[in-house]
């Protein structure tokens, strides 16, 4: 069988398939469907310092080949996560990346410093798309200066590798990626959801309680692929690609344009075993074509440009 290992430099993965934050809970919810050690790793649901309630419903609306969510990042907070969830995940030999959230820069750093004290976390993924209430909902991901500043401080405070998750809702994704790299990021993951909305023509009301939400699912794959390619051209640090991945072929396309690993998100809702199925499909693809190491595919796209 093909060698599926993925080398992120700062982290070696069994295979290149991770699960995306917000689509896989804290991992334990999936134990009846798959073995957490059979996938590359899991990125747990975004953690703020304290527990959070999330947005009023409706929180989800289905769209053509996708969905818009406005869940509002409810979560258990770092203390509960460290005390009750992390020890369970360690028993299952899962590679755990924690998605770090914050309402304002300081909260991100508090989450990192709290979790620094616990073992069993392979890396942090900085979710710089969290809306900042004080800044009228703006997030660090939308501005290269803010991105560089928060990444630099987060990196200083962290005793672990730091992946920065980018928002697609920007004019120039390559510029933001370079800002994250300049700030000291060890890796980049992209894309987060696309800002979207849906309305009900009959009731003349928004379909989401929060009015706006984030679009995900197969509908966004072409946008995600383009941005992953652009970022791969712009930075030297490893990239984790995501956006609408449902099959092994989808995953391999992201690797072809330069991602060393991928995350599976919305597909987990439809097929709880999607991530492990995608690992098998990647292996089958490689074996059928005599590809000895899946890593050899990374960044091999040929263009005439």
């Amino acid at each position: 069988m093909a060698d599926l290992r993925a080398d992120l430099g700062f982290l070696q993965l069994r295979n290149p398939v991770l699960t995306a934050s917000g689509t896989f809970g804290y991992g334990m919810e999936f134990l009846s469907f798959l073995d957490l050690s059979a996938i590359g790793g899991i990125v747990v649901k975004g953690l703020y310092y304290g527990p959070r309630e999330g947005n009023p419903p409706p929180r989800l609306v289905e769209t053509a080949s996708g969905l818009i969510n406005a869940i509002g990042l409810p979560g258990v907070g770092v203390e509960h996560f460290a005390a009750d969830v992390l020890p369970e995940l360690r028993k299952h030999d899962a590679t755990v990346i924690v998605n770090v959230c914050g309402d304002g820069d300081e909260e991100y750093f508090q989450v990192i410093e709290f979790l620094n004290r616990y073992d069993g976390i392979a890396a942090y993924e900085l979710n710089i798309s969290c809306p900042n209430v004080k800044l009228n909902g703006a997030c660090p991901a939308m501005n290269p200066h803010m991105t560089r500043t928060i990444v630099a401080t987060a990196k200083q405070r962290s005793r672990r590798p730091l992946v920065v998750k980018l928002s697609p809702n920007v004019t120039n994704i390559a510029e933001i990626a370079r800002a994250a790299e300049d700030g000291g990021a060890d890796g980049i993951s992209l894309i987060n959801t696309l800002l979207a909305m849906a309305v009900d023509l009959e009731t003349r009301r928004p379909k989401l309680g929060n009015v706006f939400g984030g679009l995900s699912g197969p509908a966004i794959k072409p946008v995600a692929l383009r941005m992953t390619y652009q970022v791969a051209q712009a930075v030297r640090i490893p990239i984790i690609g995501m956006g609408g991945i449902c099959t092994g072929r989808d995953a391999l396309e992201f690797m072809l344009v330069g991602a060393r690993a991928v995350q599976v998100g919305t597909a987990n809702f439809v097929d709880p075993a999607a991530s492990v199925r995608i690992v098998h499909e990647i292996a089958e693809y490689c074996d059928a074509r005599g590809i000895a190491r899946v890593a050899d595919i990374v960044g091999t796209l040929e263009t005439n440009r």
Partner: protein
């Protein structure tokens, strides 16, 4: 919770927009309890993307039944399936009705509105098998919206029907019929499933009379097994309101737990 990618449709019945599918699946039926539901894929492709939550109408042996009404594109695709086709299902999901205490000397009244009748057949059968007395109230806007009358009657279940337009049975809301009947006698508790306004009326009625009631709620769901956090409803927890997941913490909640004013 199991995943059966190939539950076979062995029988299909249709009444206008309403459909009943009998499926064969050892994996899904062996653990099924009244009030639980399945998440069903409606297509092999990605549009519609999400599974649809569908109530378990009955289960026993290797068979189970689902009953639903066409409400959009997903359920329309499901309604187009034929006998012999296979369905990709997750289930059984959620926490069903709590039946402890309902034995031979107890009486339960079951209240279903429209497609909300779906879980009450399995519930009625189970209560009867425990020796409890069962009476079902079944309402719809009009006579074509209460198609399962004969099914309940031929199973020997005591049935009272209502239609908003008076085309069959009591003329008015099923909760109004319930209110009338409660003047003549009281059950030891009631169980209800239907649209939110009906659930709210039934819940408030139960609280006013001090009757224990269990209400099965519905919501748009992303996953059905507790990870997407979409299907939340305001529920009392430690005497405060909290957004709790209908798919995992419910779909059945006590009338005294549900907070309507905030939802």
């Amino acid at each position: 919770m199991r995943h059966d990618p190939a539950a076979r449709i062995i029988q299909k019945k249709t009444w206008g927009d309403f459909h009943l599918l009998r499926l064969e699946s050892q994996a899904l039926s062996s653990e099924a309890a009244p009030g639980q539901f399945l998440m069903v894929r409606t297509t092999d492709g990605y549009d519609p993307l999400l599974r649809r939550p569908i109530s378990l109408h009955d289960a026993g042996g290797i068979g189970l039944e689902i009953f639903f009404r066409v409400a959009g594109r997903g359920t329309a695709l499901l309604a187009a399936k034929k006998e012999g086709d296979i369905l990709d299902c997750l289930g059984p999901l959620g926490k069903g009705f709590r039946l402890d205490g309902f034995g031979p000397d107890k009486t339960a009244w079951l209240v279903g509105g429209g497609r909300g009748i779906a879980p009450l057949f399995f519930l009625a059968r189970t209560l009867l098998s425990k020796g409890a007395g069962v009476r079902v109230f079944y309402g719809g806007k009009t006579v074509s919206e209460i198609p399962l009358r004969e099914k309940f009657e031929s199973a020997g279940i005591l049935l009272d029907c209502s239609t908003d337009d008076g085309s069959f049975g009591f003329a008015g809301l099923v909760t109004t019929l319930l209110e009338h009947e409660l003047r003549a006698g009281r059950p030891d508790g009631f169980f209800a499933c239907g649209p939110d306004p009906m659930m709210e009326r039934a819940g408030r009625l139960a609280l006013r009379l001090g009757l224990p009631a269990q209400l099965s709620l519905e919501a748009i769901m992303g996953c059905g097994f507790g990870v997407c956090w979409s299907c939340v409803h305001r529920i009392k927890k430690d005497n405060e309101g909290a957004w709790r997941k209908i798919c995992e913490d419910g779909p059945v909640f006590g009338a005294d737990e549900i907070l309507w004013e905030e939802a």
